[in-house]
């Protein structure tokens, strides 16, 4: 509804400011201890605007976003479920907000208790032996996991292991992580049914194998049925098994990665545990490990002295084999508190229901979309909590691509699913409704898709030119990358 297109910098007027927000200026005298040579010569070009202008600018800007609080948002692999507002309130309690991360344990018992219980909760639900909450997102969890694999092999003097195996459907963070941990990546093909090509995997395994990273259910939206054979093959070769927990929502309470044979896993609390995505972050990527990796968990962790009932930090002084700290303090504390709230509200029964109802929703949506003429990528498979459609035929026949359909969905007030991922399925949608959406919300999406398929056949321009109702029309990405404009220059 707003016409706001100006940048905050364009509102700037010399000498204007939100006066109530800053202390009175100090005198030059009070700054005399700072040598002139170290002082800034020109004041930085930050916006000079009033308080109302700031509130109005960022309130109006916010209205240009889709969000879970406003729209169905079936972004596959991202688990855009409802973010309980109660979790936000609890994490924003002054006692938590004002606590300095380096406050002594004597002044941190409440916070430590939450972390300790969350560690235990995650251990139980994943079937792992130890959990560290330190990693700050999924990718950092992956990093921690693979670094632990590396530390494990190193500690055993098993130096020849230079390769990480990764199924080709994997998320880009997996290969990127392996490289960040100093490994080479070998991709493993995926079969027509969405399962890993077991024979190829077996061939790839060898004394150079440090481990395998995989997601299950995979990013193909199906459960990897040969998981035990895969586990055996990798373990037999002396490698370890890494579980990318981005899809944990699908199996929460139903199957535990620990029981499937994984040695290390990360969880995306900002997916499975309903913490908000904040337009790009923050997240939290706790790692869980089997017995053999316990010594390498990243620090700090929360520990409990059973006798005194006091909580304390477990740090590198007591766990010197740890891969160490991955942040200056203790990861994304506020996200952890939100996840703790969620876990406590759901409890045991609630955890089980997550897997069940997210799977129910996905299978329902898949069947209904197939019924209106959509093509499933793996039509003979059960959907997990998400599934893939391919529009390859439409792209060929009508020159209407997955991107076009995605853009047109916005006009129907539906956020688009994930597109062109995984890379191995052409013109694909990865669709994840989650357990928190009503059947009616899914039905609205189905209706929109039906209308768009109709448009694609009768009036393809409406689809290929979409969107029409958003603050901007389709953007020129090529220009963006070629004529880099990353910073406002007046």
């Amino acid at each position: 509804m707003s016409n706001e297109t100006t940048l905050i910098f364009q509102h700037s007027r010399p000498g204007r400011s939100a006066t109530a927000q800053a202390p009175k200026p100090v005198s030059e005298d009070q700054l005399s201890a700072i040598p002139a040579s170290l002082r800034r010569k020109n004041k930085p070009g930050l916006p000079e605007v009033g308080e109302l202008e700031v509130v109005r600018h960022y309130t109006n800007l916010s209205t240009k976003n889709f969000a879970i609080d406003k729209q169905f948002y079936p972004l596959g692999s991202c688990t855009m479920k409802y973010n309980p507002r109660g979790a936000n309130r609890a994490a924003m309690l002054p006692g938590f907000l004002n606590r300095h991360p380096l406050a002594p344990a004597s002044h941190s018992q409440g916070y430590l208790a939450c972390l300790y219980e969350l560690q235990n909760f995650l251990k139980e639900v994943t079937g792992m032996k130890g959990v560290s909450l330190a990693p700050m997102a999924g990718a950092q969890g992956e990093f921690a996991g693979v670094a632990m694999i590396r530390a494990y092999h190193e500690a055993r003097g098993d130096d020849g292991r230079t390769e990480i195996l990764i199924p080709e459907a994997a998320h880009g963070t997996n290969p990127a992580t392996a490289v960040m941990c100093g490994y080479k990546v070998r991709e493993v093909p995926v079969g027509k049914d969405g399962d890993v090509d077991l024979e190829a995997l077996k061939e790839a395994c060898g004394p150079q194998t440090a481990g395998l990273m995989m997601t299950n259910p995979s990013t193909c939206g199906v459960f990897e049925r040969q998981i035990e054979a895969i586990s055996k093959a990798v373990h037999d070769a002396g490698g370890l098994l890494y579980y990318d927990g981005a899809n944990l929502n699908a199996i929460l309470g139903k199957v535990r990665p620990g029981d499937m044979g994984f040695d290390v896993i990360h969880m995306n609390l900002h997916k499975t545990f309903a913490t908000p995505h904040g337009g790009g972050g923050p997240g939290a990527g706790p790692v869980g490990v089997s017995q053999r990796l316990l010594d390498y968990l990243p620090t700090p962790m929360a520990g409990l002295d059973e006798e005194s009932g006091d909580y304390h930090w477990i740090d590198t002084d007591t766990l010197p084999t740890s891969i160490g700290h991955l942040s200056a303090f203790m990861g994304n504390a506020g996200v952890l508190l939100r996840a703790y709230f969620y876990a406590m509200v759901l409890g045991r029964e609630g955890m089980i229901r997550v897997g069940e109802y997210s799977t129910l929703a996905a299978n329902y949506l898949l069947k209904r979309l197939e019924a209106i003429g959509c093509q499933a990528a793996y039509p003979d498979r059960r959907a997990s909590h998400e599934f893939i459609l391919t529009f390859a035929k439409l792209a060929k026949d009508q020159h209407v691509t997955a991107l076009d359909i995605a853009k047109r969905l916005l006009d129907y007030n539906q956020h688009a699913p994930t597109i062109y991922f995984p890379l191995l399925v052409p013109e694909c949608f990865l669709i994840e409704p989650t357990e928190t959406e009503t059947k009616e919300a899914m039905d609205d999406f189905i209706d929109a898709m039906a209308k768009i398929l109709e448009e694609a056949n009768t009036d393809p321009d409406t689809v290929t030119q979409a969107p029409f109702t958003q603050p901007v029309r389709r953007l020129d990405d090529v220009k963006a990358a070629k004529e880099l404009d990353l910073v406002w220059g007046e």
Binding site: L7, A18, T19, A20, A22, V26, P35, L38, R39, R40, K41, K43, P44, E51, V55, L61, N65, F66, A67, C78, L93, G95, H100, P104, G110, Y111, C114, E124, A137, G138, E142, G172, V179, F223, V255, R256, P276, H277, G280, G281, P282, L326, S327, M330, N332, G334, L337, F341, R348, L410, H415, K439, Q470, P471, V472, L475, A481, L484, D485, L486
Partner: protein, 454 residues
């Protein structure tokens, strides 16, 4: 069912559409013996929002505000109420990464504004959309410097001992996996500064970069011009680690060096810009660089462009650097970043403006000076170093630091950080004051310390 809206009718209708008899049947591809069964029995029963809120309120209560003078990389500042009331609007709080640009112009424009703010504050050319935090950001900067320094083949980077030891720790934990070595640079025991003298032994050797922290861990101000020029003269890139509040007063890293050549990469902890202490996170790392290095920078970057009608719009750009496109050849594995904290920072900086931020910085400095004076008025308490400081200062006590701090904590005063473990300075503490402290707060600390030392 908490957060699950389905009625029994809904479930039946959905199963019918699927052609399944039960939800359980949907899991029939999973080997039966793998199913979790009773293995979750140890988990607690779910409770309602009321009960969990009460529990967490009691927990938060246990950790309630004590008068704190701890800094060490995270600082208590006044955060305007508007910052988080707006940042937690559902539209920012519950959106995903702006993959569908047309439906995410709000977040995208905020990031573009943020990039501009960071660039201007640091006097650098470009900024990314945030990394996890300052310490892990330094690791990214170190790895980036290896790629960006075409003149060097080294996998070594010079890192001053006066750098926040938590930064060195996290950085090392990350980069050592790629066999990168952080080579230590001593500081002057009198001044508490990193001197060019201490670098002399590395002259003529190949290092990818020199890290310069301004201020350093002791709060001391480094002679950044001299250090920058030395590094450049020796074929190294300069990685600046800076406190963003201080930049309202101090020479921005983009202008360091006698000729203002500037640092090549800048990182830092963004927390002081409107993010609550919150037990350590979520914070955000900011990262900026010279334009020529932009393709080596990790993390998301937003560009301004036009739509098909020529209207201004914002979009993710240079994605070919990122893991979801470049996979194993990406500049980093980072995906989810710290978007919301960065949004808050953008609002914070807009509210403060250049003069407001300078006032905040000025008060931090003045209060810290005042605090140091008050504490040094006590017998046996002295400044540990002679260098000028920004808003943190190292003091030596006449007694064991850890013991003194513990006794202060009993009085609900968190009197700073001990330098015993990290620097073997058994009697030294690091104290910080910011604009949140009143004169009365400083006096309380001085009084309490007096009692403890008595």
């Amino acid at each position: 069912m908490p957060y699950i809206p389905h009625t029994e009718d809904d479930v039946q209708a959905m199963l019918a559409a699927i052609g399944a008899d039960s939800i359980e049947q949907l899991f029939d591809e999973i080997p039966a013996h793998l199913k979790a069964g009773h293995s979750l029995d140890a988990l607690p029963e779910g409770r309602g929002e009321m009960a969990v809120t009460r529990l967490m309120a009691e927990r938060a209560e246990q950790d309630r505000f004590a008068l704190s003078f701890i800094g060490g990389g995270a600082y208590a500042h006044h955060i305007p109420a508007a910052v988080w009331e707006i940042a937690t609007r559902g539209e920012y709080y519950t959106a995903y990464t702006p993959y569908q640009a047309e439906a995410s112009q709000g977040t995208l424009q905020v990031i573009y504004e943020y990039q501009t703010l960071i660039a201007r504050l640091t006097a650098m050319d470009v900024s990314n959309a945030s990394v996890y935090d300052g310490a892990s950001g330094l690791a990214e900067a170190v790895l980036m410097s290896l790629r960006a320094n075409r003149k060097s083949k080294s996998r070594k980077v010079l890192v001053p001992d006066a750098l926040n030891p938590r930064y060195r720790g996290a950085c090392d934990a990350i980069v050592r996996n790629q066999d990168v070595e952080l080579v230590s640079v001593p500081f002057c025991n009198d001044a508490g500064q990193t001197l060019v003298d201490g670098l002399k032994e590395h002259e003529g050797q190949d290092y990818a970069a020199l890290v310069i922290s301004q201020p350093n861990y002791f709060g001391s101000l480094e002679d950044v011009d001299a250090l920058t020029d030395w590094a450049h003269a020796n074929g190294q890139l300069v990685i600046a680690v800076v406190n963003p509040t201080s930049l309202a007063l101090l020479t921005p890293p983009g202008e360091w060096g006698a000729d203002g050549e500037g640092a090549d990469i800048v990182v830092g902890e963004g927390q002081p810009l409107g993010v609550p202490l919150s037990s350590g996170g979520p914070y955000f790392g900011f990262m900026a660089c010279k334009k020529k290095h932009v393709r080596q920078m990790p993390g998301r970057i937003i560009g301004r462009t036009v739509d098909m009608e020529g209207k201004q719009g914002f979009t993710l750009t240079l994605q070919a650097r990122e893991q979801h496109i470049r996979r194993s050849k990406a500049t980093s594995n980072i995906c989810t970043n710290q978007g919301l904290a960065m949004t808050a920072a953008t609002i914070y900086v807009s509210l403060l403006g250049p003069d407001g931020l300078a006032s905040v910085a000025g008060h931090c400095h003045a209060n810290t000076q005042k605090l140091a004076d008050k504490l040094c008025a006590l017998d046996g308490v002295e400044r540990a170093f002679s260098a000028p400081v920004f808003h943190e200062v190292a003091l030596t006590l006449p007694q064991d630091a850890d013991t003194v701090l513990a006794r202060l904590a009993e009085k609900d005063i968190l009197g700073g950080l001990s330098l015993a473990k990290d620097y073997s300075m058994k009697n030294a503490i690091l104290v910080n004051s910011t604009e949140v402290h009143t004169e009365g707060d400083l006096d309380l600390f001085a009084q309490a310390l007096k009692e403890v030392l008595a």
